[in-house]
Structures are given as structure tokens and as C-alpha cells.
């Protein structure tokens, strides 16, 4: 069942277009990584899903409803980002009491245990927490609210590595205990990849790729072989990156464009190797003809 459906979503601001023609469908109860470069439109997309902003054109439905300013979708959605704020008058404990009052699936006990685990005193004030502590608290708040759609926008910003590892596991365990849809936007794809089911890559305001993690990874491959052989083989193919060294060539190409048997590759002295998802993202989103080296020559 699709919980999110977006058709040709566009969001224009006075000086730039944050989204254009974003179309996607997201099934329920999956953990999905929302990946993209800075300014690709991830946050705009997530804010539309949370009902915070209204698309300029196109349609968006969450739980089969238009999320904009909708109390039904709001009750089933939580958006956690670094701008989440609470009144200065509340201690962490009071914030948790407030959360419990609003969210019907609230897990108070779990919240207390997690806060205890990370060593955040219940009496502290939200504003006084360090950046990492605040991110940790916000993430705990988002996890224990158990909303059917939990959107985490850069949830681990500022958290140290040990806590990050712990909380990826916490997300996974909470997901197993109470399956729901998680959308996690992050620049740290490598460290969260294992808990993801799908990757949604946003670039330049639209969806560039949306696939299960493994398929996503396998869409690009690296070929390494003698330059002359590769040159003829890849004559009419799109090459995402290329490096020539001493008669050998390394080339990143689309796996589907390569219709050639493994044996033939091997006899030609060409080796095929996979890329990491982060690399795939990097090559897919790299602007054509732009190379940082060029600026230093």
C-alpha cells in the first residue's frame, strides 16, 4: 500500500525553484533513505509531506489525503529536524509528558530508558542542551511518538559516532517492534545503509533514482581494463567517471548499458567491480563536466 504519492510536485520560491516535477510513491512500513546533495530539495520535499508548506503545483497525498495544514495527517506524522523546539519553560521530563498527552502511541518508558542511557538528565531544559544532545533528544522524541510516518531530517547532526551507531540500531529495533514508515534524510549514507530498505535519490528538485538499496548500488559498476579495449567497448555508452593510467582505464558506467558476458570481459582482461552506494550517489549527482581538479590546474 502506498502511504505517500507525489505527482509532478513543484515548489518555487522567489529566487529559486526548490522542487520541480518530483514524482514518487512510497510504500508503507519501510525505512527509506532520502539522499541528495546540499540544496537538492530534500528538506522542501519533507516539509511538504509534513504539511508545513504547500507545493506550487502538482499533487501530494499522504495517507490518501492532502497533508497541507491537515490535522489527520499531522496526527500520524512527525518531522524531526534540528529546528524542532520546545518552550523554554519545560524541562525534558515535562516535554515527555506533553508528548504523551498528544501522541496516542507514545512510549514513555522507552523514552526514560533512552534518556538515561545517553545520560540526559530529565531536569535539563531543551535550550540548554548541546547540539549533539539536542539532536539525541529530538530523535528520542521522534522514535517514542511512534507515528505511522516518521520523518527524520538529518537526525544525527552533531551526534558523536558512538551515539550515532547506537541510534541507528535504536531506529531499527523500534521499526521491528512497531513497523512504520521511516524517511531518513542524511548525508551519511554509508553508516545508515544497512538498516535501509530503499534509497530515494533527489537531485536538482526531482527524483533521480528510487530503488531497493542493493539494486540502487548495482546500477553503476566500475570497469578496469586496457584503455584501447575499453575505449571500443564504451564508445557509445554514458561514462560517469573515467581515469586513465599507464594504458589502463577505470570507468564508471551504467550496469544495464553493458550487455556483455562475464567470460568475454575476463578474456579481454577487464575486471568488473561494484561501487558503494555513496559512490553511486556521488557519480549520479555529479554535474557533467565538473571536476574539482579543473579548478586547481
Amino acid at each position: 500500500m502506498n502511504i505517500i504519492k507525489c505527482e509532478e510536485l513543484a515548489k518555487n520560491y522567489a529566487n529559486h525553484n526548490a522542487l520541480h516535477n518530483l514524482t514518487c510513491a512510497i510504500e508503507s512500513e519501510k525505512i527509506i533513505g532520502i539522499i541528495g546533495r546540499n540544496g537538492a530539495g530534500k528538506s522542501t520535499f519533507l516539509n511538504i509531506l509534513a504539511g508545513y508548506i504547500k507545493p506550487t503545483s502538482g499533487s501530494c497525498s499522504v495517507f490518501n489525503k492532502n497533508p497541507f495544514n491537515n490535522i489527520f495527517t499531522a496526527a500520524n506524522t512527525i518531522l524531526i529536524d534540528d529546528r524542532l523546539s520546545f518552550s523554554d519553560y519545560l524541562t525534558l521530563e515535562e516535554i515527555l509528558t506533553m508528548g504523551a498527552d498528544f501522541y496516542p502511541n507514545w512510549q514513555g518508558e522507552l523514552a526514560y530508558r533512552l534518556l538515561d542511557y545517553v545520560g540526559l538528565p530529565l531536569t535539563s531544559k531543551h535550550q540548554q542542551l548541546s547540539k549533539g544532545q539536542m539532536a539525541t533528544f529530538n530523535l528520542i522524541y521522534g522514535l517514542v511518538s511512534r507515528c505511522a510516518l516518521t520523518i527524520l531530517d538529518e537526525p544525527m547532526n552533531g551526534m558523536d559516532e558512538a551515539i550515532r551507531t547506537d541510534f541507528y540500531r535504536a531506529i531499527l529495533k523500534e521499526y521491528i517492534a512497531f513497523p512504520r514508515t521511516f524517511l531518513i534524510a542524511s548525508h551519511h549514507l554509508a553508516e545508515m545503509e544497512s538498516i535501509l530498505e530503499e534509497i530515494l535519490l533527489i537531485d536538482d528538485g526531482s527524483v533521480l533514482a528510487h530503488a531497493p538499496v542493493e539494486d540502487f548500488k548495482q546500477q553503476l559498476i566500475v570497469l578496469n581494463g586496457p584503455s584501447d579495449v575499453l575505449a571500443t567497448l564504451l564508445a557509445d555508452k554514458v561514462i560517469y567517471a573515467q581515469k586513465d593510467m599507464a594504458g589502463m582505464t577505470l570507468a564508471v558506467v551504467e550496469a544495464s548499458s553493458l550487455v556483455i558476458s562475464e567470460d568475454l570481459l575476463r578474456t579481454n582482461g577487464i575486471t568488473k567491480s561494484p561501487l558503494t552506494s555513496s559512490d553511486v550517489c556521488m557519480y549520479l549527482t555529479r554535474k557533467k563536466g565538473r571536476d574539482i581538479d579543473a579548478f586547481f590546474d
Partner: protein
């Protein structure tokens, strides 16, 4: 327990391989219930869908069978099948690679055979 994320082998294949390894090592025996996709997910810190894919591989190779509502169980000849398969596929592939590498290094066929005999002697 952690899977090797940097490995060229996809995670679900690593899971399938690990399960096969457990069966070969008799830690999972005939008609014994195997881990559910959620248990595997927790165990390896991976997405349950990925773990499910690993289980599906074994199910499709008839190493596991399903009992409705109870989960997956090890089939009676699972261990045999795995061993046969490894013999047929893995060993054949390794042999292929050895032969190709030997060719590259200009090692003659006789020399290669002698090398294999010597290795066998050495391990006895």
C-alpha cells in the same frame, strides 16, 4: 554480529551464505526452525527486508521450507545440497581462476598439477 558492509558481496547474499554455513556446521539441523527475518535483522543490524531476501534465496534453493504461520525450517537434505553445490560451483569456479591465473603467469599444465599435489601433501 556485523555484516561486512564494504564487501563486494551484497548483504543478503552474505546472510544466505552465513545461514548455509550454519547448516553445514550443524548449528542448524534438519527440521529445525531457522531465524526469522526480524531475528536476523536484529542479529546483523540490517533491514528486515534484506534479511528476508537472504532467507528467500535459501527457500528457492529448497534448503528451507515454510510452515504456515510458524516460519522457515531446514529441509532434510539441506546440508547435502549445500555441500554438493559448493563442490560443483565454488570449486569449479576456483579451479577456473587457478587455470587462468596459471596461464597468465606462464605456468605449464604439468607444473600446475604438481603444485596442487604438493599443496595436498602439505596439508595432510
Amino acid at each position: 554480529m556485523y555484516v561486512n558492509l564494504d564487501s563486494a558481496t551484497p548483504i543478503y547474499i552474505q546472510i544466505a551464505e552465513w545461514l548455509q554455513h550454519e547448516i553445514v556446521a550443524d548449528r542448524l539441523q534438519t527440521d529445525e526452525k531457522v531465524y526469522s527475518q526480524y531475528q536476523l535483522a536484529e542479529l546483523f543490524n540490517i533491514n528486515p527486508a534484506t534479511a528476508g531476501k537472504g532467507l528467500t534465496i535459501l527457500f528457492e534453493e529448497q534448503l528451507l521450507y515454510k510452515k504456515r504461520g510458524l516460519g522457515m525450517f531446514v529441509t532434510i537434505d539441506a546440508k547435502e545440497r549445500i555441500l554438493t553445490k559448493r563442490r560443483n560451483e565454488t570449486l569449479t569456479k576456483m579451479a577456473q581462476e587457478i587455470v587462468i591465473e596459471a596461464k597468465r603467469l606462464l605456468v605449464s599444465d604439468e607444473e600446475l598439477l604438481i603444485l596442487i599435489r604438493q599443496t595436498q601433501e602439505g596439508l595432510k
